[in-house]
Symmetry: C3
């Protein structure tokens, strides 16, 4: 996954990516590294002030940092308003995606006509009426159901399953084991307690520049579609229920579950293991903390939390027992307050 064998000079980087250079522009970097472990030929970054003191001892060839940290920096540096994002772009420059040869591997099966720029690996299985954009890479053992549409420059790693009819945008990355478009959990209870399945006839529609993690699942809509807007980033093992809408540029960490018909705003973040119930709305720019259960709509930007603090087991045993007595405790407090008031009235 390395780029040009001889890397780039800082001059070249700044001319491509912007930023302000301090120090030797002909310094050449070939890899990214952390400030702590960087050595010759490696470029690091400083975004979090608490690592500032690593600057003095770092053996990095160069560093990306903000104006605040640039003064007195002993290394050649590139100053940026947003050093972490700048570093991300440098890392992309130095580590372009692996080149994959175009064409359909003889051990793949396709029932659709594909653009010659598309790469299809061994074991991939592509149904009828599938449309795959230019320069897409379909990994080994991927399955694209009938009628799937995939925008240009998208990449599916191995063992991805996309059910029939789903539509995926451009420059989308989907990691191994992800399942797009399985039936939503639509069941109706009969009077005898058994369940009747409700056919799920909607699709999954995914925008551009979305990344979907390994073994993440996004269900197709019951009637209307499930929608993942542009720029959404989903980590691994996330479950998105039917008819959910995830707003543009929202990011979710691993193991999040979103129940059916939830509408999540734009630029939200959701911490690992959080569960968002269905049929509710979350405003733009909301941050949900890890392991939080969201049970009702949130109509105001901000950070919301709801996890139980952890502690040594013995302490937890003692404290947790009282959780089942909180209502009684509140009642005792009320009762004491009136008894005290009575006592205070005594002459």
């Amino acid at each position: 996954m390395t780029g040009r064998a001889d890397g780039y000079t800082l001059d070249e980087i700044v001319s491509r990516l912007g930023g302000r250079l301090t120090g030797e522009g002909c310094t050449r970097v070939v890899r990214v590294a952390t400030l702590e472990h960087a050595g010759p030929g490696e470029i690091a970054f400083l975004a979090n002030p608490r690592y500032r003191r690593q600057l003095a001892s770092s053996r990095a060839a160069a560093v990306v940092l903000s104006t605040d940290h640039a003064t007195g920096c002993p290394l050649p540096c590139i100053v940026s308003d947003n050093p972490y994002a700048y570093y991300a772009r440098v890392a992309q420059l130095l580590n372009p995606p692996p080149q994959t040869p175009a064409g359909i591997h003889p051990a793949a099966v396709s029932e659709s006509q594909l653009d010659p720029s598309v790469s299809v690996a061994a074991g991939a299985i592509i149904g009828k009426d599938v449309s795959v954009g230019e320069h897409c890479v379909i990994g080994p053992a991927c399955i694209l159901g009938d009628g799937v549409r995939l925008g240009a420059h998208s990449r599916l790693y191995g063992n991805v399953t996309v059910y029939a009819g789903c539509a995926i945008g451009r420059r989308v990355i989907i990691h191994a084991g992800a399942v797009i478009g399985a039936d939503g959990f639509g069941i109706a209870r009969e009077l005898d307690g058994s369940w009747t399945k409700i056919p799920q006839v909607g699709r999954v529609v995914i925008g551009d520049d979305v990344e979907i993690g390994a073994n993440t699942t996004i269900d197709r809509g019951a009637i209307d579609d499930t929608v993942i807007e542009d720029g959404v980033k989903l980590d691994n093992q996330i479950q998105i229920g039917h008819n959910v809408r995830v707003g543009a540029h929202t990011a979710m960490a691993g193991c999040v579950g979103v129940a059916g018909s939830a509408r999540i705003g734009r630029r939200c973040t959701v911490g690992g293991g959080a569960i968002i119930l269905g049929h509710l709305s979350i405003a733009d720019d909301v941050n949900i903390s890890a392991a939080t259960l969201v049970t009702k709509s949130i109509d105001k930007a901000g950070t919301y939390s709801g996890a139980m603090p952890f502690e040594p087991h013995r302490d937890w045993l003692r404290n947790a027992a009282h959780l089942r007595q909180l209502d009684a405790m509140a009642e005792r407090i009320r009762a004491m307050e009136s008894r005290i008031a009575q006592l205070e009235k005594k002459p």
Copy 2:
């Protein structure tokens, strides 16, 4: 996934599915839709009273509803005791499963003799001594280990893995990426802290009419079998440990985890993200709320909950700190109560 191109008249639907018709029986419907979005040729339903006012403005061709809501309904309607379940059956009528051609794709591998009505897609791999019932559909890249049994009319979507020896009933649906019969988590600790694996020699046995979601995993038993009874519905990304028994018609939402040897009753529901510990029993007709941890047996039907409420992060910080002081708080309340009693005794 659409059925008859010209759909069905309400007369035809009522004659097949029962219910009482009000309005024009020759009204023809071809698709299901929501009350809000339905248009000509579409049939909607009203189950939740809070959507009742949508009836007046709906452009649906017809609607399924209960007696309560039928009076004054401006649209042709079918009255049912259980409109949501009736709607599910209408949806099934209008959206039969896709027809899949019978036969084994040349890019599939089977070491077993299969009934000619069975459909096996490209990339599927079927071991020795596998028995597959009539009209089953084995999706692309599915793996059926040696000795697997699959009942008639079952459908496995892509990339499903069934380990050797597991037995699956009739009309079962398994979604992509599900893994049936991997080894249970059976390990014994040695005195030096390392672990010795315990071979898992039980099977997974799945009843009829079960549906299993994408990337859900059900482990084989350690010695005896893991059992999923008839009519169980499991959403995506659920983990069922070894030797669990899930009672008939129990339904679980996404991301639930059930630890080994738990016995779950019939007609239970388990909300998303709930965790059920092992070696416990849950009675029939128990509902577990989302994100609840079940730590001991439940022997009485009813609804059980245990999640922490969420709130703005700043409020949570303030409140959560006291959770670690609950025991001390209870002690202070007791102390105050006796001091107040002392004061009250004063003349």
Copy 3:
């Protein structure tokens, strides 16, 4: 999965595995079973004292137990310091892994030269420069990316995906659907709220004797590697973020999530559904209870918990409301304490 058709005598078992024999050494056992269900030819174990009374009625041919329980045992028995681990070794003896024929199935694709002792199933896809140790078993539809290294005697079940460059030790078992080495969740926020991907150029490095459950995902490092040390046991549906290090012989139950750059000690246990946040350290010999959120480092061995107790929904509703009032409640307690003190000062 059965071993020698006629099993082993207790004499043979003791001579191979140690332990002290009581009763007929020529007793022959062919299978393991639970004390409760064992019959002729079956060997059971007693590790948990609460099952002791099952000894009297068990029809097992023999039993493995500790000195404490051996006195007066009516069955032939093998006495061990650690009966559960001994039983695990007996179970391994009676249930060796299935023999898989060496060689590459014609429906597999390999671009690397493999040792003739290696077994590669149909549909497996092996990239360039892959090194596979002797006697490895690569299951159906597994994907090994370019440059992957796999130690001797390892076994991958079906549909496992290993991304390019990852290194896996000896005697490792990986269950179906696991994904090793997908990109970590490395994204940098731009000033407009969109995200830029940070290429993930580290690897996953897995030690010897590790077992990884079905649909578990372990992300590759951002720059340095993600490391799973020797003897780690991971259950199903676990998510390990980038640059995590899991210490030797640590075991995690299903559905655990570990965020990026967490360092977890040796011989830890993590209960099902626990979430461990990133950039923190956990000492050796720490036990995390199920469904606990670990938000900061733990530097002392011991057991830590943090789950909300569950209760009947109605009780929970009453109690949970007070959780949002704990800070106010604490304030009222403080106020009462000073009012009581005032009253006590009154003459």
